[in-house]
Symmetry: C2
Amino acid sequence: MKRRKTESTNKIYSILKKSKSALSHDMIQEKMSSDVDRATIYRVLNRFCEDKIVHKVTGDDGKQYFAFCINCQEKKHKHNHFHFRCTSCGKVECLESEIKITLPNDYVFQNLNAIISGICSSCT
Amino acid sequence: MKRRKTESTNKIYSILKKSKSALSHDMIQEKMSSDVDRATIYRVLNRFCEDKIVHKVTGDDGKQYFAFCINCQEKKHKHNHFHFRCTSCGKVECLESEIKITLPNDYVFQNLNAIISGICSSCT
DNA sequence: CATTTAATGCGACTTTGTTGCAATAATAAA
DNA sequence: TTTATTATTGCAACAAAGTCGCATTAAATG
Ligand SMILES: [Mn+2]
Ligand SMILES: [Mn+2]
Ligand SMILES: [Zn+2]
Ligand SMILES: [Zn+2]
């Protein structure tokens, strides 16, 4: 179960690394020069998530967005921050602010999924 | 465009009102005695949302959950709170804590979708 | 080069949610 | 009560997002 480097994984990796915003599957597919299968892209992205290279956010549109996180690179894999999805241009960004979570007693935390939708500054 | 009361809308309304947790479409369908079409249920729920009777949260599982909110009943329609989805029993709850949101300059707020997944107290 | 097995492509499939349209029925008007 | 209006429903078809099995391809290792 050792990971192998392929043209597809390299490409997807660099697309995500370059991107300032989180990308959905279809955004990535558009940016790919060669035609890579949908299933492959999803598998690559999910592997990246397992390996904590990227993190995943589910938008209020129901889609999954993947991103290299602003904070994750340094510290361990945490993404306790809000995301912003522009309903005009579709861009999804990681916001800086860190969220503090307090759960009721006997609740076990697993994952935070926080996203604000609205209009971004470029679209105002 | 005035709303009409039907057996289905009444039933769905009372199911949601009784429920202490947010319900997805299929959770509601299970609770219905009579067989109501999927499309109808969705249309009723979306109408309730328009009328600000219930609010909708998109889970990190990609599904939509609908709930009478703890706070919404009194004040105007706001649901700036976290939700908790138990990955064991599937229950989705509105949490009490109110979230304060600060966006970067020139960003326009439209909607907050915040959900924490984990294990609830009944499932620990 | 030969071997091992992770990664891919393809197709089929599931799940979630929406939409067009004709039929039904709740409400208002007569 | 009867009639007219039109919101609501059921059905079927559809779309979008994501997953999975399986045969094939091709990295990695020696
Ligand atoms: Mn992020
Ligand atoms: Mn809520
Ligand atoms: Zn924008
Ligand atoms: Zn639970």
